[in-house]
């Protein structure tokens, strides 16, 4: 089962339809099949190209296009990967990326879920007004915060720290997290909450015992988004850190001499996208759901 099946419409087959008619209709759709296959291949080629490029020695890269690997598999080598893996900076960068991505996923979900619950189920003055502010913050470009936060971080010694990056990602992930979770929590049946309240359960207890488990599908969607977003970030890390280099920044510093060190850039780039791709394939369903629920970001 995959994520997309939910959307696939049910094709109602007419049992009375004769076989020749079905064949004729199938033939009429042949150009569509051919077109879609061509598009699919075009969409796959770039990623495969990067993978094959990462298997070429620097000499072979300058002599051959990466597609020569298909005809001559013997020129492929894992040497680039073992070199990159045995270097100090790329594995360290991957480790830092994992820290930033995990921190930058857990924290906004926690903070966002608390706020989302308050916006959905706790009545307080100015609630709608405050929520409109959150919606407005959804589209504020990151660029608006770079200079002041850079200055602030230098004062607070948060510059060049994993924690500083996590906090930045948390703040900019929050509007979307609050928006998505509030909209999900508000759909939880009122009776459940009311009866828990009548039983004397505290709000924290309701939040932990009821809201979080019931909100799991939305939290899962959000987690995937936030994880991919923080894992793939370049701009924030490039601005708020110098030596705390996540993988994108580490590759970026190699990029300035593109061509001469493709044997580092290609495998490192491929390694950097393995984890997001694995997350994507494992949780496609939640990814699509989150996308559909929150495509205002």
């Amino acid at each position: 089962m995959t994520a997309y099946e939910a959307e696939a419409p049910v094709v109602i087959k007419d049992p009375s339809e004769a076989l020749p008619a079905r064949i004729a209709r199938g033939a009429a759709r042949l150009p569509v099949h051919i077109f879609l296959i061509a598009v699919g291949v075009l969409w796959l080629v770039p990623t495969i190209g990067l993978f094959f490029t990462s298997l070429l020695s620097p000499e072979d890269f300058t002599l051959n296009g990466w597609w020569k690997v298909i005809a001559h598999p013997h020129i492929a080598t894992w040497a680039n990967y073992s070199n990159v893996w045995n270097s100090t900076d790329i594995p360290h960068a991957l480790w830092l990326t994992a820290q930033i991505a995990i921190g930058g996923t857990v924290l906004p979900i926690l903070v966002g879920a608390l706020a989302g619950y308050a916006f959905a189920w706790i009545e307080f003055p100015g609630r709608d007004w405050l929520f409109i502010v959150v919606i407005a913050l959804l589209v504020v470009p990151l660029q608006m915060a770079l200079i002041p936060i850079f200055t602030l971080y230098n004062h607070l010694s948060l510059y060049d720290t994993v924690f500083g990056l996590i906090l930045f990602h948390t703040a900019f992930g929050l509007p979307f997290a609050i928006f998505l979770l509030r909209n999900f929590f508000i759909g939880i049946p009122k009776d459940i909450l009311e009866s828990a309240r009548i039983d004397g359960a505290s709000e924290i207890r309701i939040f932990v015992r009821l809201i979080l488990p019931l909100g799991l599908p939305a939290i899962a969607s959000l987690a995937i988004f936030q994880f991919l977003w923080t894992w793939n970030d370049l701009l924030v890390a490039l601005t708020m850190a110098r030596n705390t280099q996540p993988i994108t920044v580490a590759i970026f510093s190699n990029l300035r001499q593109f061509g001469s060190n493709i044997d580092i850039i290609a495998p490192a780039s491929f390694m950097s996208l393995i984890i997001p791709l694995a997350v994507f394939f494992a949780f496609q369903r939640y990814f699509v759901q989150g996308l559909l629920a929150g495509s205002v970001k």
Binding site: G49, I122, S295, K297
Partner: protein, 448 residues
């Protein structure tokens, strides 16, 4: 996930209001602090900072930083890189959201009744998981100019070779003064020939690795009545040999194109050489003909389109960006499509509407809300585009490719370190998203 219905908030018992407010603060506190310190305060700071100069808050400059964006008012990457980046962003805004939405619509509609649509959707959607930065690296490799390395140009070269036959040779010179001309005009054997004539066309200065594959020992053909025969060959044997004479070890030049001209110089026939370099023009009567090597023999090979050059860099990056986001558009539009009532479509078909009419008159209007969501989402994303630009564009064309967000970073952190100007660029970017911000707020207020 179903969009949850907007339920009315639970009414709190009256005596609880104070306690509830304390609870609300507890739940909202962390979020408000983070939003306040990391987004709201910086936004105000940046707006204020944009009216001050490079050296800091002591240096009030009014709107000079904003003026700097437009002075001099010339669209030239080197004269005013800032205005150039605004121009580039305008191209992005005009092209990317529309094309991505259109692709998404086409893919969603075409996959709707295809059995293997899940496989297709997965493939097209996959780039969404890849960072825009890694995407840039991927496409940088795709766009390499040399067709033997860059896949895009290799593909174009392969398609081009179906329509335009490239030359079999790159360079050559006549072996003797009997043959004159150049590679750009072609070579001509000066001696006029008639029926039964034999034309020896010796060429030299052909590098060994450029001799066409399949070449065999050259042969001087016999004279033939009613025809002109000849041989075109690599008139060079190691250790010398006699120019103009076909000798052992000298190879024919298969594929070389030959023309036969009449006495007025008009082309009457064309042919190409066999593996041993021989060729025949048959059906020849009379005399005064001349034989020549056509210049198309030396047509230069496809050199590759300069995707990463200053002319094409922005379209090239937009293509890579479309590759990433078309899947998003497809999935969201696909979900909208699934929500359209089957009956409406079937009714239109029963009424005799063609598939195109159903698409144009029923599907697209019904999808309009979804299409606008996709379009607006892409509009916001396009304004903030950064990573992919700096990773696809090589250093030499980065100024040509820069969009507003890239210039904001370069002016603030990329060596210039002018926080005043950088703030002004950020505010300019922010002003562009304000209409979308208002739209979102209005949409929310309508819903509640």
């Amino acid at each position: 996930m179903e969009p949850p219905p907007a339920a009315a908030a639970p009414s709190a018992p009256h005596h609880n209001i104070l306690r509830r407010n304390a609870v609300a603060i507890g739940f909202l506190g962390p979020a408000l602090i983070l939003l306040g310190v990391w987004i709201v305060y910086p936004a105000i700071y940046t707006i204020v900072r944009s009216f001050f100069g490079k050296s800091g808050f002591g240096d009030f400059v009014g709107i000079d930083n904003y003026k700097a964006l437009f002075t001099p008012f010339t669209f030239d990457a080197s004269a005013n890189p800032l205005l150039w980046s605004i121009r580039n962003s305008a191209i992005w805004i005009l092209v990317a959201p529309a094309v991505i939405t259109a692709f998404g619509l086409v893919f969603a509609v075409l996959t709707e009744r295809i059995r293997w649509s899940v496989a297709f959707k997965t493939v097209v959607f996959m780039p969404m998981a890849i960072s825009l930065f890694a995407t840039g690296v991927i496409w940088h490799v795709m766009y390499i100019k040399d067709p033997s390395q860059g896949a895009v140009n290799a593909g174009i070269g392969a398609i081009r070779s179906w329509f335009v036959s490239g030359g079999v040779l790159e360079e050559a010179s006549p072996a003797t003064s009997n043959v004159t001309g150049s590679t750009s005009r072609g070579f001509v054997l000066q001696k006029p020939l008639g029926s039964g004539g034999v034309a020896p066309l010796g060429l030299t200065a052909i590098p060994t690795d450029q001799v066409p594959s399949g070449a065999k020992q050259a042969v001087l053909p016999a004279s033939k009545q009613g025809a002109i025969t000849g041989v075109v060959w690599r008139d060079f044997s190691p250790g010398g040999g006699t120019p103009g004479k076909v000798e052992k070890g000298e190879l024919g030049l298969p594929g070389v194109k030959l023309n036969l001209f009449d006495s007025r110089g008009a082309k009457v026939q064309g042919t190409s050489a066999a593996d041993d370099g021989t060729f025949t023009f048959s059906g020849v009567s009379g005399s005064g003909y001349k034989v020549g090597v056509a210049s198309s023999t030396f047509a230069p090979p496809f050199a590759g389109v300069s995707w990463l050059g200053s002319q094409l860099i922005t379209p090239s990056i937009i293509i890579a960006y479309i590759w990433v986001w078309a899947g998003f558009a497809m999935v969201v539009i696909g979900a909208g499509l699934a929500a359209i009532s089957r009956e409406v479509l079937e009714a239109a078909r029963t009424d005799g509407a063609s598939e195109w009419q159903v698409f144009r008159r029923v599907t697209v209007p019904l999808l309009a809300p979804v299409l606008s969501v996709v379009f607006i989402t892409m509009l916001i994303n396009v304004l903030k585009v950064f990573d992919i630009v700096i990773s696809v564009a090589p250093g030499s064309t980065q100024t040509d490719a820069a969009v507003i967000a890239v210039q904001m970073w370069r002016q603030s952190f990329g060596g210039v370190n002018d926080f005043g100007l950088g703030s002004a660029i950020a505010v300019f970017l922010f002003v562009l998203v304000v209409p979308i911000l208002l739209l979102n707020v209005r949409r929310f207020r309508r819903e509640t």
